[in-house]
């Protein structure tokens, strides 16, 4: 647990100091990353990331829920998108479950931290992997190269949530 306290301090410092620094690598990625109840519980976190430029997600922000297991960092943290918010071929739209190798025990190493894992998820938004889909419809459109239908479907889902 002491490791997550250290990370929390680093994250606060890094996010606060670089709020206005355009060159900072995390400035274009992370809007916020903090425990939901910092005084009581450091195992439940919430993050907001920006949609990457050059993707249909650009201009939207996305909420992720993070659970830190007791054995962290020996075992990976548990990341999921807010249910029914992320139309992406490696995300289960209804549950928010994410398919990414480093989030599984076999590929995780304790050198990863919450910031770098969040960046990996952000990169997954830029580079979807249709070979291991959790959203078969989007993966099929991508596999057959129907980009206008692919972008259209994503836009449709993204705009459902904007009221």
């Amino acid at each position: 647990m002491s490791r997550i306290i250290k990370e929390y301090k680093t994250i606060q410092k890094q996010l606060n100091n670089n709020r206005n620094n355009q060159d900072d690598e995390f400035n274009n990625i992370i809007v916020s990353l903090a425990p939901i109840d910092p005084d009581q519980d450091l195992t439940k976190w919430e993050a907001v990331i920006k949609g990457p430029q050059g993707t249909p997600y650009y201009g939207f922000n996305f909420i992720l829920y993070i659970t830190i297991p007791q054995e962290y960092p020996t075992v990976p943290p548990f990341f999921e998108f807010q249910p029914r918010s992320m139309p992406h071929c490696n995300v289960n739209y209804n549950t928010g479950e994410i398919c990414l190798d480093i989030l599984k025990q076999d590929h995780w190493t304790p050198v990863w931290n919450l910031m770098s894992t969040l960046k990996a998820i952000w990169l997954l938004l830029k580079d979807p992997v249709p070979e291991s889909p959790l959203n078969v419809d989007l993966a099929n459109l991508l596999r057959f190269g129907d980009l206008s239908a692919y972008n259209g479907l994503i836009n449709y889902y993204l705009n459902i949530n904007v009221v």
Binding site: R3, K6, E7, T74, Q105, T109, P110, V111
Partner: protein, 173 residues
């Protein structure tokens, strides 16, 4: 003389009960072997018979039991380092750590923050970690957290060179 069981008419029921229990256990083991054999190979072979068999099995077997058996497969496949190997890792003395800010990549603590740090170095890749941190990790894995170098793969090399030297000494001695 009659035994207690005979007097009370219990003689048969107990034996058949035992027998039934062993039968049950054997059946359960057979199911588990089938399930694990086909459960782990199924995705690679893509054999249709296996898929149907697995489907039938998964309908018969309760879900929590299936999960337990799958976890057994996982723990068998996962490689880890022995306690002896972890204990044999070379220790680094505090005064040979040149970089003041060098930290353990697992706990993010600076080595020199501790007055008497226990630091271990991995063979070949030479990455350093707190002994306590790397022990926990290597008891579940066989790779370096930083570079994924397979730490056990170099161990045999070291052993061979040692034995060769000993043989040479024997010849001249």
């Amino acid at each position: 003389m009659s035994t207690y069981e005979e007097e009370h008419g219990l003689n048969d029921s107990d034996e058949t009960g035992n027998h039934r229990n062993t039968e049950r256990r054997e059946l359960r083991n057979e199911f588990r072997e089938l399930f694990q054999a086909y459960g782990s190979n199924n995705s690679r072979n893509g054999n249709n018979d296996n898929v149907i068999l697995l489907q039938m099995l998964s309908e018969l077997i309760p879900e929590d039991l299936q999960q337990e058996w799958f976890e057994q497969i996982d723990s068998k496949n996962r490689k880890s380092c022995s306690k002896e190997f972890i204990d044999s890792l070379p220790r680094i003395k505090a005064n040979s750590i040149k970089d003041k800010n060098a930290e353990c990549a697992i706990c993010f603590c600076k080595f020199l923050e501790d007055k008497y740090p226990l630091v271990a170095e991995l063979p070949h890749c030479g990455h350093r970690f707190d002994l306590e941190c790397i022990s926990v990790w290597l008891s579940k894995s066989d790779t370096c957290p930083l570079c994924r170098d397979s730490v056990l793969s170099h161990k045999t090399d070291i052993d061979v060179s040692k034995t060769e030297m000993e043989e040479d000494w024997g010849m001249y001695g």
